[in-house]
């Protein structure tokens, strides 16, 4: 029995390593069944099948990120070929229209891949869950990301009308028109996303975006200081040490005299360009 067991495990492993790779065309083949067809076929197991499609979409995205040549952010996956993500999220939300996480995933991850599908799925969720102000927040986020501040403001305005919506959503609507493209507003949006995300990956994305915004502010300050030094001395600083007093005066966090980004990695001083940049090893997203 032991010999037999060892034998078939060994053969299974050999087969795994020698199996020809499946063509990506086949791997990316469209789903055979639509959400409505699956809803009928799943009998009363539609919730379970929705969970399955939700977990499949997480694995699908996770697998693509792992195989990506460079590190990519969850909300910037346009370069990865994620053809099946929209259909999978659509199926999950058709099978269980009250399942909120796939809607949030559609709002955060999908716009970089298929913006129209992200909007369609979110609007479908709003139609199925008229009492969920969060879906209006997701829709507002999609519009805000593509720079359509009027539509985003309208989405927040609709969300604010729903009983139980928090007061900040009304404030977001008001601020959207005036400062939709500002960093402060972006900070507000990612802070809300961080607070409300159930999925740890979305939470992490929001956290990194907040770090990025802080880093952008820091780099703006450093650039100004470098410009002041250049005006005074007539050349770019050759090292951080030369502008350390200025950095200290600006209350920037320093380690060993070098300014560090919000993730704790020292910034790079571009001595030839009189500029500052993120270290590629830093956790703070580049774009």
């Amino acid at each position: 029995m032991v010999l037999g067991l060892t034998g078939f495990v060994a053969i299974a492993r050999w087969l795994d390593t020698h199996r020809p790779k499946i063509d990506t065309e086949i791997q990316q083949e469209s789903l055979y069944l639509t959400g409505n067809a699956l809803r009928r076929l799943s009998l009363s197991f539609n919730g379970l099948v929705a969970d399955w499609y939700w977990m499949r979409s997480l694995q699908y995205v996770g697998g693509k990120i792992l195989n990506a040549p460079a590190h990519v952010q969850l909300d910037d996956l346009g370069q990865l070929d994620l053809k099946l993500l929209a259909p999978m999220l659509d199926v999950a939300t058709t099978l269980d229209p009250e399942f909120m996480e796939p809607y949030q995933y559609a709002a955060v991850v999908l716009p970089a891949i298929d913006e129209e599908e992200a909007i369609r799925i979110t609007k479908k969720g709003i139609a199925a869950n008229p009492a969920q102000w969060r879906l209006h927040q997701h829709l507002g986020y999609i519009y805000w990301q593509r720079g359509d501040y009027a539509a985003a403001g309208d989405a927040y305005s609709q969300g604010a009308k729903i009983p139980g919506a928090p007061p900040w959503i009304e404030a977001m609507k008001a601020r959207m028109a005036a400062e939709g493209g500002s960093r402060n507003f972006a900070r507000e949006i990612y802070t809300r996303m961080y607070e409300q995300a159930g999925d740890s990956k979305i939470k992490e994305t929001a956290r990194l975006r907040l770090l990025q915004l802080d880093s952008m502010d820091q780099r703006d300050v450093i650039r100004k200081l470098v410009a002041i030094y250049q005006t005074r001395v007539g050349r770019c600083p050759a090292s951080w040490r030369e502008i350390e007093p200025l950095l200290r005066a600006a209350r920037l966090p320093l380690v060993g005299g070098r300014p560090i980004d919000p993730a704790g990695t020292p910034y790079l001083l571009l001595t030839d360009k009189c500029d500052v940049d993120l270290d590629p090893v830093s956790e703070v997203p580049y774009k």
């Binding site: 197991f45 919730g47 929705a50």
Partner: protein, 287 residues
């Protein structure tokens, strides 16, 4: 058959009018039915029917431990979907395979001759067997429900309202199984075990498509097909009334009217199916 259908009223009448002899007969009948039910329950336990609980607990434990990594923070919903769906699926298998064997095994082993040589009516035999399996299913469902509640406590790391709110859905599952058991018993009273299993399984599937049958009936123009689909819709059990797993995973509880209506529907449906079973079984020749 007639005595069984009237037994409830006759029993009540005897109790109210102090007809001691009639009361004695009905107590005797009740005693015989309960004795057969108790025997059927013991037989199911002896046949290791409740061993499915071990598999259920193993599945649930594995789900509770591993699902967190795969579900993106949706452990609670998935535990409820998974637990209640497994409860329904296991229950369907028990209702079908144990249900069709209830009568068939007695005939096959020829123990039915020994039973009917005593003062036991065929109706009492069928009702007793049915109640025995219903009790087995009740024990099964309650223990599984407790398992799901415990798994919820584990994944929530403490109190969770879902621990209590899933129970109406658990009882709706039980009543679906109770109907299916009666259907299995009906088929087994006149056909082979394999065919009975197949037919009962078809009823389970079609019962979940009832809304489509009704939709077909209303959308058809000609009278005959419309009549056929309307009759089929009302004749087959409407299991859509008992599908509350997905809403339960979101913390929804069925309304009292829905719950009471579904239970009343199940009791009436089971009464009719059991009456038909007794009618067929009473006319069956065992020689």
């Amino acid at each position: 058959m007639r005595s069984l259908n009237l037994s409830g009223f006759a029993f009540l009448f005897a109790l109210l009018t102090d007809h001691h002899h009639a009361l004695y007969i009905h107590f005797n009948m009740l005693g015989r039915v309960l004795a057969i039910a108790g025997n059927a329950f013991r037989e199911a336990v002896r046949d290791r029917v409740l061993y499915n609980l071990v598999l259920f607990v193993l599945l649930l434990t594995a789900a509770a431990i591993f699902i967190g990594e795969l579900s993106g923070g949706q452990e609670r919903k998935i535990i409820v979907d998974f637990g209640l769906s497994a409860m329904l699926l296991f229950g369907v298998f028990i209702a079908i395979f144990v249900g069709i064997g209830l009568v068939y095994k007695e005939i096959e082993r020829r123990t039915v001759y020994a039973i009917f040589s005593k003062p036991v009516g065929r109706g009492e035999f069928i009702v007793g067997k049915y109640l025995g399996l219903s009790l087995t299913l009740l024990v099964n469902v309650v223990l599984m429900g407790a398992g799901v509640s415990l798994a919820l406590l584990y994944v929530s790391r403490g109190a969770d309202p879902l621990v209590w709110t899933i129970w109406p859905a658990v009882f709706l599952i039980y009543f679906e199984l109770v109907i299916l058991t009666a259907v299995a018993l009906l088929f087994s009273s006149f056909s082979s075990p394999a065919l009975s299993a197949l037919l009962t399984f078809f009823v389970f599937i079609i019962g979940h498509f009832s809304s489509d049958l009704k939709g077909l009936a209303t959308s058809l123009g000609s009278t005959a097909p419309r009549f056929f689909f309307t009759v089929t819709y009302y004749l087959l059990p409407n299991f859509a009334n008992y599908s509350f797993v997905t809403p339960a995973a979101h913390g929804h509880v069925p309304g009292v009217q829905h719950l009471a209506g579904s239970i009343l529907y199940a009791l009436l449906y089971v009464t009719v199916i059991l009456a038909a079973t007794i009618l067929i079984f009473s006319r069956r020749n065992f020689k």
